[in-house]
Symmetry: C2
Subunit: 111 residues, 2 copies
DNA sequence: GACTAACGTAAGCCATCACTTACCTAACGT
DNA sequence: ACGTTAGGTAAGTGATGGCTTACGTTAGTC
């Protein structure tokens, strides 16, 4: 998961993922969409491949990259965990506050 | 979203989020769980607060941090988008391969 | 009013990172 | 065989990031 989230931290890499999300693409094809050099894209693709967020396939002299969603599994489950726990915690806090408010209101009535 | 995913890229910050996921905690309380200095934790908390992943509440001289799941909304939706698109793309690729295999098999039969 | 506890912030340091240019290899066309 | 196209890799560089120590500030405590 560490590799995945670190790979996603870079905006260019997220854009690359957006590009290969639907169809596989060659390196120079991808590089043509950015204003950085082709080697830079190659390095980004290496990071994405190490994080298992893309697949590579050789076809002659070209290399075709495509998305590999399974690489997100771990991160997704961690986020879901955080999401649910934090939300339920928020809920009990709100409930406690409402309870305190009701108590204060009844106190005011007794007065 | 950029701020959120960059904040999550750091393992210490993810652990901090795990700590404040259920209950709010003070800075020194959090810092006691790590082997880095308290200022380092303060800086991590600043990054998390800027990314809107935690809430802060002052109580006297102490500051209580708690999780703020809404900060993940954007990142989650991006990931879901990527996830669904990439998976459906994988599906059509597999189907195309199966189709090619069936064609090859019928060719072999004709031979 | 002095002391202390709990934090935030500033400055400096070292590691990591993204990018560039230069180079190399492998597969194709002629 | 030879040039060319596609792309990975190496080395160097500037910027960013996480850490530390030192210091400043604010709210309680005696």
């Amino acid at each position: 998961m560490d590799a995945a989230v670190r790979a996603l931290a870079e905006p260019t890499r997220r854009e690359i993922l957006d590009l290969v999300r639907h169809t596989e693409r060659t390196v120079s094809d991808i590089a043509s969409e950015f204003d950085v050099s082709r080697p830079a894209i190659s390095q980004h693709l290496r990071v994405l491949a190490d994080a298992e967020l893309v697949n590579v396939r050789s076809e002659g002299t070209r290399r075709l990259y495509s998305a590999r969603p399974e690489g997100l599994v771990e991160l997704r489950s961690w986020m879901d965990q955080f999401w649910n726990d934090a939300l339920s915690n928020l809920k009990v806090e709100v409930e406690r506050e409402q309870w305190n408010e009701r108590k204060a209101a009844s106190k005011r009535r007794k007065k």
